[in-house]
């Protein structure tokens, strides 16, 4: 190990052990790689420094566009390792210390970079697509949810509990004729990307494949003109066009996958209200909500390279009260790439065929076994 002078990071007292950072030798004829994209330790160090620099920026006024609006433009990363809901073990702890935040970040990065060889998996790391390779940053918050104060989604209404029970029962019923629409979630079908309304879903790599995949292709592009803000996401290249001129929403009978958004400025914060969501059945709407969901997002540029993103989700048919999140979005380099999902959806055929085969197997198994409590047919 090389002897190094440890650069003192103010108020961070833990010691990082420096292994030699190897710059990957790329095949001849290509350029070498940025260490933060190939070595988790380098990525963790760089992320901690950037997060510290962003946190140290106070009373900062964002520059203006040529027509006088706060400039939110650029490319911003939507991936985070912070979970949506606070882990139960943390109880009421809303904030980590800096040391704990870095440790939690390190744990998430290392778990993300590792791949369980026993599973059928996509090793995103090999493509430079893990969240830590894209520039995800540590967060002092223990959860994205800031309200309710316990950091958890509020209780469901009785109606929503019934809907959820009915959906679970339908999922338990075996369906050998499973098809694209009854099987596939909207991302697998290439109808929608992993996050446009709202932009950030929360990270828990390793928790489930959809959440882990939410860390990849998590870039976004924000463009402003005097009358509009536009957000393009890398995932499925979903586009949200947000008029700022105070026009009314679309009529109530016109429903859209990404809803219908309207924005206005409150000081230096752009407030975006989205309604007119469609009913995505048989897929589920956002967090099990209905098409009555009302989403209010807030965009504030708090430092040169950080956008603060907040949203409040309200659906009286689903939650007993609204709930809100807050998360920082770090700036990243352009460009976005074309995400021609449906054009090249080779995988859907294999995925649906595989599901059909599994469903037939499961139907045979439950026929050959007498039904009793604890049998496979009763499992969720």
């Amino acid at each position: 190990m090389r002897a190094r002078v440890l650069v003192p990071l103010a108020a961070v007292t833990f010691v990082m052990v420096w292994a030699p950072v190897l710059v990957a030798q790329a095949p001849s004829g290509t350029k070498s790689f940025d260490p933060t994209t190939i070595d988790p330790d380098a990525a963790i160090k760089a992320a901690a420094e950037a997060a510290k620099a962003a946190a140290a920026t106070t009373n900062w006024t964002p520059p203006r566009t040529s027509w006088g609006h706060p400039d939110l433009q650029g490319y911003w990363l939507l991936a985070t390792y912070t979970p949506l809901e606070r882990p139960a073990a943390l109880k009421d702890k809303a904030f980590y210390t800096e040391e704990e935040a870095i440790a939690a970040f390190r744990k998430a990065v290392e778990s993300d970079a590792e791949v369980d060889p026993r599973t059928v998996h996509y090793d995103w790391k090999e493509y430079g697509m893990d969240a830590w390779q894209a520039g995800a940053k540590p967060n002092l918050r223990t959860s994205l949810i800031v309200d309710p104060p316990d950091g958890r989604i509020p209780p469901l209404t009785p109606e929503a509990q019934k809907r959820r029970a009915a959906a679970a029962a339908a999922a338990r019923a075996r369906n050998p004729a499973a098809g694209v629409q009854t099987f596939g979630n909207l991302y697998t079908r290439c109808v929608l990307g992993l996050g446009a309304t709202p932009l950030v879903r929360g990270g828990n790599p390793g928790a489930e494949s959809a959440a882990a995949a939410g860390g990849v292709t998590a870039e976004s592009q924000i463009v402003q003109t005097p009358g509009y803000m536009v957000i393009v996401t890398q995932s499925n290249n979903d586009v949200r066009i947000i008029p700022l001129d105070g026009r009314p929403h679309l009529p109530d009978n016109v429903r859209q996958w990404l809803g219908d958004a309207r924005g206005h400025w409150e000081g230096d914060t752009l407030v975006v209200e989205t309604t007119n969501f469609n009913n995505k059945s048989p897929a589920t709407n956002f967090q099990g909500s209905t098409d009555a969901l009302r989403l209010v997002e807030r965009f504030t540029r708090v430092s040169p390279n950080t956008l603060r993103y907040e949203y409040t989700a309200t659906d009286p048919m689903t939650w007993t009260r609204p709930w809100s999140i807050e998360t920082p979005l770090p700036r990243i380099d352009p460009p976005l790439y074309e995400f021609a999902c449906h054009e090249q959806n080779y995988g859907l055929i294999n995925v649906v065929k595989g599901t059909q085969i599994r469903e037939v197997e499961a139907a045979k198994q439950s026929q050959s076994r007498p039904a009793n409590p604890g049998s496979r047919a009763d499992e969720r």
């Binding site: 066009i241 990404l258 460009p335 054009e343």
Partner: protein, 299 residues
């Protein structure tokens, strides 16, 4: 002031009223002469400009031609499955958008165009690149490419900044970013190509490369390869009209470059906006039922 007579009072009142009206008229003129900043307001003669002095292409635009059916002149046709579709499926005639009404195909490429036309409704979904061997990509809700996206019968919206111009098409929500400053090299092949732009006077010139060779120009089977190179010119002629011209070059398919042109019209309805046209769900039965992979949802 001591008013001597009613007549003088009236005269004073009418002068005052006239003065107020003149002030109001001046204010109105100032409003009319102010540069347009947001879409949806009534435009006036003379294209508005952005803060950096360029013509503003901000707003919602649409072509009104039948070029998406056939970029060459064509008569009205019954369209596919007239026994079911009737007039809903019929195609109107049109005068075409190609200069000289001729596409200079190489002989083998012309044969391929005819083959494309014969197979334009063929849907052969596979899990390999052979899925692009035949069939109009539009039919399956694939990205239309450039220049076809500009003359689809759907509006599109332009968001203009000095560094980047973003174009969003209502059809499938297809997007393209025109890199103005800095220019960027195409990283890979795309359906919508890769666009770098610059201003020549009041004309936006866009150089588009990086095509994947799977896009068609229309429903008539006109096509190009991945060597396609398109140079677009957007020239505003007043606040509501932009003349569009594209030069098409592909040495593997055509014997020489050729041009197309048509006007783009500003959509002027108050509060006009793009309405989602997410066509993926509309084509799932067509694409996946033949493979036994489609089951309509029960609601």
């Amino acid at each position: 002031m001591h008013i001597r007579s009613r007549g003088v009072m009236l005269a004073v009142a009418s002068v005052a009223a006239a003065a107020m009206m003149a002030v109001a008229a001046l204010a109105m003129a100032a409003l009319w002469l102010a540069p347009i900043r947001t879409a949806g307001q009534a435009p006036f003669a003379g294209a508005p400009r952005t803060a950096d002095g360029k013509p503003s292409l901000n707003g919602i635009w649409q072509a009104f031609t039948t070029a998406n059916i056939d970029i060459l002149a064509h008569e009205a046709q019954p369209g596919p499955h007239p026994e079911t579709m009737g007039v809903y499926g019929a195609f109107p005639g049109g005068q075409g958008i190609v200069e000289g009404n001729e596409i200079p195909y190489k002989p083998e490429a012309l044969a391929k165009k005819k083959q494309n036309f014969d197979n334009r409704m063929a849907v052969k979904v596979t899990n390999d690149p052979h899925r692009y061997d035949s069939g109009d990509p539009e039919l399956q809700c694939y990205r239309p490419g450039v220049p076809r996206a500009n003359y689809m019968p759907f509006p599109f919206q332009i968001f203009q900044n000095p560094g980047e111009i973003l174009m969003v098409y209502e059809f499938k929500g297809a997007v393209r970013t025109i890199y103005m400053d800095p220019h960027r090299e195409a990283p890979s092949e795309n359906w919508m190509g890769w666009s770098n732009g610059r201003w020549e006077g009041d004309t936006l010139v866009v150089d588009v490369t990086g095509f994947n060779g799977h896009t068609w120009f229309d429903r008539a089977g006109n096509f190009a390869s991945d060597a396609l190179h398109v140079v677009e010119r957007y020239t505003p002629i007043d606040a509501s009209h932009v003349m569009y011209e594209a030069t098409i070059e592909d040495p593997t398919v055509f014997t020489r470059p050729w041009k197309m042109s048509f006007p783009l019209y500003r959509r002027m309805e108050p509060n006009v906006q793009l309405i989602e046209f997410n066509c993926v769900p509309f084509v799932e039965e067509m694409m996946y039922a033949p493979l036994g992979l489609y089951k309509p949802p029960s609601r």
